[in-house]
């Protein structure tokens, strides 16, 4: 298959299975092709391979010694055995060595449950340790930033050192001392503070040596539900998993995607998740009757909403959306605005300094600190306000039809929207300005729904629901879809895929993508790349 694409290939067998791989493939990757995970610590696909943990030793016919699969390149005709007696013996021995000084404090270790030492030892390690002497004690060191070092658990794979050297290119970690006295350390009291990529060392640490202070002792790994998602905190759109316990996001972890974030994400995005867990949400549709809001069911609310919009004859429209809305939400908002005759449609976004990851420069903490700024632009929304996502609301001051979706109006004047003949507020929080609305409709956050974002480089990526929405909250596209259906008789989209399929009407580029094809890592929006992308 690969030959057809003009790539030179070599053939080998791994555990008796014939494999054809591109020339230059490492044995560890060739083994992965046939579903053989060769245990390893120092090897990481995003870093250089020093072949020093010596755990991935495999037997290769014709080689007198076992070879490290992480650096040995497959040669034509290699017969590789990853599960041979010699390979298993060697791995068992390495695991026994690594346990010599390991504290076996799994019950209090955050890594427990997702620890590679635990996994490998339980799979193929020695049943009993033979150490009859005292263990080496290193202790705990605060590395600064979000990183806490438990030296006793360290297996000296040096992934963290290599990450800081090769990827962050800010060599703040080093191996200090040598032999069994070697430990990972910073330069004396200079920690990792100030480097926004430092928490990646926690992710790549195969054991519990580097742990997150933010996550420390907050949840056990096996209690977490992991949902693929997109980091909402800037327009880079790093692929992540939302890790949730008891309907509360506990942490964000990067998910590999070579086209977007490699294996990495920044600490700014990673640690800013508390807002997803915000309490005090609007839980039911509220319809104003006179001076008060009446909570209603959706089936009572939506017909009233359609009627209210229909009742407007000629109107000056105005919309305020949030760049945290999904493409589907924004597309629906755009179509609503078109249906009511247009008007100024704006969004506001917080901005900050851009920080590039030097060793993987396509990844940066972007200036625009919201996930779907690019989507907002593509669907014809105009940026207003300042870098704190405040101000600029005067753009819709004279709107008679006012739609606010996602923007929580925290800074809006108390009389905001009071002049509108119809003010629809779809959001999560009931701030004072939102109380001027005629309809207050509870919306889900991205974490509670399925949908897509468009990142700064026009990469369209899916996310999945990780949390149960509060009360009756619904995605914006669903609410507006019913409204549109009431206005023009078209069927309302029932599923996110349906909502996505409607996007082509507003932006033809989206018509070329299929929701199902986006998969876990998304697809580029062809043709749109020429359009000016916001940074």
């Amino acid at each position: 298959m690969a030959e057809e694409q003009g790539i030179e290939t070599v053939h080998c067998t791994v555990n008796g299975m014939a494999v054809e791989v591109p020339k230059g493939t490492r044995m560890i990757d060739a083994a992965a092709h046939v579903g053989s995970d060769v245990p390893h610590y120092c090897y990481h696909p995003g870093l250089s391979a020093p072949a020093q943990c010596r755990l991935c030793l495999v037997e290769v016919e014709g080689s007198p010694k076992l070879l490290p699969a992480c650096v040995t390149v497959v040669q034509e005709g290699n017969v590789i055995r990853t599960e041979s007696e010699a390979a298993l013996e060697a791995r068992k021995a390495v695991l026994e060595f690594l346990l010599v000084n390991h504290p076996l404090d799994c019950p209090v270790c955050d890594q427990s449950g997702e620890c590679k030492l635990q996994d490998y030892v339980s799979a193929e390690g020695p049943a009993m340790g033979r150490l009859a002497d005292a263990k080496r004690i290193v202790g705990v060191d605060d590395f600064g930033g979000d990183v806490l070092f438990n030296g006793d658990r360290c297996v000296m794979c040096t992934r963290c050192v290599r990450f800081m050297r090769e990827v962050a290119q800010d060599e703040r970690l080093g191996v200090v001392q040598r032999g069994s006295r070697a430990v990972i350390d910073t330069f004396f009291d200079d920690g990792l503070d100030g480097n926004i990529w430092a928490d990646n060392v926690v992710d790549i640490c195969p054991v519990g040596a580097l742990v997150s202070k933010d996550f420390l002792h907050r949840a056990r790994a096996w209690d977490l539900d992991r949902t693929p998602s997109i980091c909402p905190n800037c327009s880079q759109g790093c692929n992540i998993t939302l890790q949730v316990r008891d309907n509360e996001v506990m942490r964000l972890k990067p998910r590999p995607n070579d086209a977007v974030n490699g294996h990495w994400m920044c600490d700014v995005g990673r640690l800013d998740y508390q807002w997803i867990n915000r309490k005090g949400r609007i839980e039911a549709p509220l319809v104003r009757e006179g001076d008060r809001f009446v909570p209603m069911s959706w089936s009572d609310t939506l017909p009233r909403l359609v009627d209210a919009v229909r009742a407007l004859s000629s109107q000056r429209g105005g919309a305020v959306v949030s760049p945290f809305l999904s493409n589907e939400d924004l597309g629906a908002a755009r179509r609503v605005m078109e249906a009511v005759g247009g008007g100024r449609s704006v969004y506001r976004v917080e901005t900050g300094e851009s920080v590039v990851l030097p060793g993987f420069p396509q990844l940066a903490l972007r200036e625009d600190r919201a996930a779907n700024v690019r989507g907002s632009q593509l669907f014809g929304f105009e940026r207003v306000g300042d870098g704190c996502a405040t101000g600029g609301l005067e753009a819709v001051d004279n709107a008679e039809f006012l739609l606010v979706a996602g923007d929580d109006l925290e800074d809006a004047p108390a009389d905001f929207g009071s002049g509108a003949r119809l003010f629809i507020y779809i959001g999560q929080l009931l701030n004072p300005a939102a109380r001027n609305a005629h309809f207050v409709l509870p919306a889900t956050t991205f974490a509670e729904m399925e949908g897509t974002f468009t990142n700064v480089n026009d990469h369209v990526q899916r996310f999945w629901p990780a949390l149960r929405p509060p009360g009756m909250a619904r995605p914006v596209w669903q609410i507006l879809g019913v409204l549109l259906s009431g206005l023009n008789g078209s069927p309302a989209p029932a599923r996110p895929a349906d909502a996505f399929a409607l996007l082509g009407a507003a932006r033809p580029e989206f018509g070329q993508l299929r929701f199902e094809d986006l998969g876990a890592t998304g697809n580029p929006l062809s043709g749109a790349a020429t359009a000016p992308a916001g940074s």
Binding site: Q52, L131, A182
Partner: protein
Amino acid sequence: MAYPYQHPSEVRVLSEYFGDPEARTLKGWEARGGYKALRKALGMSPADIVNEVKTSGLRGRGGAGFPTGVKWSFMPKEPTRQHYLVCNADESEPGTFKDRELIRWTPHQLIEGCLIGAYAIRATHCYIYIRGEFFEPAQILAKAIEEAYAAGYAGKDVMGSGQELHVTLHLGAGAYICGEETAMMNSIEGRRGEPRVKPPFPAVAGVFGKPTTINNVETLCSVTHIVNNGGEWYRQWGTEKSTGTKLFCVSGHVRRPGNYEVPMGFNFREFIHDICGGPHEGREVRAVIPGGSSVPMMSADDLDVGMDYEAFVSVGTMLGAGSVIVMDDTADIVKQVRRMVEFYAHESCGQCSQCREGTAWATKILRRIERGGGTEADLTTLVDISNNMAGKTICVLSDAAAAPILSSIGKFRGDYQARFQLEEKLMPARRA
């Protein structure tokens, strides 16, 4: 006058001027025929020098015994990049002290060898990596290098030949592992002295990523004489596969420890009992380590063997760097093995799991056995640790650490068991 001893059975090619302070100076060295070989070499093509060294059968004197001419022939023939020669003067294998004598008595012999070697592999720069503890030899060598530059033997235009050859003296800073060639390259580049994974081999990507050859001090010194007298001349000594003469450094329990230069294949028993004066009065040789602490021990019964690469292998050990350590019947084998393994634990770079943890763990067990707290199970564990380390790591330090453990448990198991009995006597309750 040799230093510190000499013996009529010696064949003194390299060590002829040991104990002759005048041979240190450029004038003195020239008067003794110095730098003739360099002049001759510059009149030859690099390939001719490589062939001459191949003919001589000279093998690396640092321990591995790889044929020097063959090693040189791995270097690219048409240099498109800078090539480097590195002279390994990191002599730190316990029991080895020959390079120190070569450097401090005949520094120009080494410089000449370095210049010839660099020319032969088409390098214009040679680093001499000398261990940091050798302040005194380094000062002597530094002075000699300055003299060589001043006399035009080194520099941009060596002896008017138009050939550029530089020598730089680089001091180590206390790391045994830097004697391993790839660790040495890292150390020269200003990195931690951690061995590199091979491939790439040094002849492809060595110092600063450039093609590099690393040779021991004694090897390069021998080259000087081979160029002067021809490869065939060198073959007059030694065996078919181990040619020439070699410096053997003898330490431990003999009457006359020191450096002795004998032809390869010399009878080992005669060497120890005659040249080195044998054991002290009333003592018996019990164990001998023939090639530095990294090679397996021999018991006194195996001494009737030739002192060459093949013969030592045939009795289960290695020639190594020719560092003979003799232990007589007063030696505490368990303690000495503990001390050797402690050394390897101290010197392990810490990259590979097996070596980092294994050497330290073995040390703990050996210390306990030495104190009298050992059991038969500990010997099994020690053997397992050794077998699990050896041959599985980036470099051979773990193999070196395994050698004394395995050979001593194999040959002197009773010494260990005697310690268990000690414990039984002292603490019978604990064993029950």
